[in-house]
């Protein structure tokens, strides 16, 4: 089977939107699958064939995750080379929190030997924390506190730009732009370069999520991002000291075990920051504003009591977890949550299902705007906890604050069903047309 850079292989018939009763059927329709049942005794574990890549109606991936979670705590997916899917909160948490058993060498379960390397995303202990310590301060709460006025200004300008039109596609008009500009300002790049990054990130993730038609554009986008950083590094290389507030320059002067970072490390780090930092926030913004557009009572509560916005955002991160699942590679033979894993097996921790698991959360299937003690895993758990979590939170809160201030009432402009990109990577609304009354 041909696999692209990050893609999930050929598109077999989708089974995502089937009725729950069909989930338990063993379905092997993809004859090109590399997986051969005869090779392996799965100890009676349910076997399914599921492709999570295809685009669906908005919200379908959470319904699917729920269906899978309530059908079985674990199943073996014969997609690609075959991998284990753990669907419930306890196992997902244990996968995150046992990194010596679950390596991040590959984080896409349908691709155990990736040809790319994200640093520090795919680095295990003991080196992982050494890379993290170089970049942690750049995305710390203290740094975000300092960056907030700049980010608020960017946000306010974008909202005020779209307001007079009385409507926009929220995704292209705001959600793609604001996180990009905010991120670039935090790492010391001119936010005007968002014009370059927005299409790159869009093209990259269309391929990453498993759309075979998107693979060529994805490779080009990756070239574009890397090329941008090659030029940026070249321009900064001769500086005797790091430039203030400039991450690329800072990295050039950083050391890993007393040696400078190699060019490969620099590029791998800068590239993954762009990829991880932009699409994720855009996706979460889409679901947050779909929620606000369809829940006027929640808009009103947030306008009346803005102190609820942080808990609203945390609940959105739990309820609308945009990472369908996280992949890991098994490092040794082990019994784990009732199945026998072998070294080299891939596992998929279905965090989107775990965050709505009624075994872990009260009223798990409800959006509770003021939920207390919301210990969701929306930014993952364990040592690979999202580096950009503090940035993302700040951006999401600012977006809600500034948007509601300028555009307090809005609704979805179409009766047609919205669609979301597949769960091969991050779920995201492909578009979100909004309309509102122009007041001025």
């Amino acid at each position: 089977m041909t696999v692209g850079l990050l893609g999930g292989g050929p598109p077999p018939p989708s089974s995502v939107s089937q009725a729950p009763s069909r989930v338990q059927e063993i379905e092997v329709t993809d004859t090109a699958s590399q997986y051969q049942t005869a090779e392996r005794d799965l100890g009676g574990c349910p076997v399914m064939h599921r492709d999570f890549a295809p685009e669906q109606a908005a919200g379908c991936h959470w319904e699917l995750a729920e269906e899978l979670r309530e059908t079985s705590p674990v199943f073996f997916n014969t997609f690609a080379q075959g991998y284990w899917v753990f669907t419930r909160h306890d196992a997902v948490r244990d996968i995150y929190k046992t990194p010596d058993l679950f390596s991040s060498e590959s984080i896409t379960p349908w691709q155990p030997e990736p040809i790319y390397r994200f640093v520090p995303t795919q680095i295990d202990a003991p080196d992982h924390i050494k890379y993290r310590r170089i970049v942690n301060p750049w995305f710390s709460p203290r740094e975000m506190e300092a960056a907030e006025p700049r980010m608020r200004e960017l946000c306010r300008r974008l909202v005020e730009e779209v307001e007079p039109a009385g409507g926009c596609d929220f995704v292209s008009g705001f959600a793609l732009r604001f996180p990009t500009e905010a991120f670039l300002s935090v790492v010391g790049i001119d936010p005007a370069d968002a014009d370059l990054f927005v299409p790159w990130v869009e093209d990259f993730f269309r391929g990453f999520s498993g759309d075979p038609a998107g693979l060529e554009a994805m490779a080009k986008a990756l070239d574009g991002i890397r090329g941008y950083w090659v030029d940026a590094l070249e321009e900064r290389r001769a500086d005797p000291a790091p430039r203030e507030g400039d991450l690329a320059s800072h990295l050039l002067h950083s050391t890993f075990e007393d040696r400078p970072l190699t060019d490969a490390e620099l590029l791998d780090m800068l590239t993954v920051l762009v990829l991880a930092g932009l699409d994720t926030t855009r996706a979460t913004l889409g679901y947050i504003f779909r929620h606000l557009a369809t829940h006027p009572e929640d808009r009103r509560r947030l306008i009346d009591d803005p102190e609820l916005i942080p808990s609203f955002v945390e609940e959105a991160l739990r309820f609308y977890t945009i990472v369908f699942g996280d992949g890991r590679k098994v490092t040794r033979d082990v019994e784990f949550h009732g199945v026998h894993l072998q070294r080299g097996d891939m596992v998929y921790a279905l965090v989107s299902g775990a965050n709505r698991d009624p075994r872990a959360y009260e009223r798990a299937d409800e959006f509770v705007i003021d939920r207390k003690r919301n210990n969701h895993m929306g930014f993952a758990n364990g040592p690979h906890r999202c580096l950009g979590a503090h940035l993302a939170r700040r951006e999401l809160q600012l977006a809600v604050e500034e948007w509601l201030r300028v555009i307090p009432d809005f609704r979805i402009a179409t009766d047609e069903e919205l669609s979301e990109r597949g769960g091969g990577a991050m779920m995201t609304l492909t578009s979100l047309p909004l309309v509102w009354e122009v007041t001025s």
Partner: protein, 65 residues
């Protein structure tokens, strides 16, 4: 009441000092400053401490009598 943070489990999510800003604070990397320490919780901070404990995604916080 006392509060203890298991330093090995803390991953710097920042939820605890968000929940209990008058009790807990953060370092330059975003970790809570009192990792592997036990602190006394003042009477007025008990609910905030309980919120911090219950909100930590890593279950790194323990409350002691």
């Amino acid at each position: 009441m006392r509060l203890v943070v298991d330093g090995a489990s803390c991953m710097g999510h920042g939820r605890c000092y968000q929940m209990a800003p008058d009790l807990l604070s953060y370092d330059d990397e975003g970790y809570v400053t009192i990792r592997d320490q036990t602190i006394d919780v003042p009477a007025g901070q008990i609910e905030a401490a309980e919120d911090a404990e219950g909100t930590c995604p890593e279950q790194a916080i323990t409350l002691l009598p």
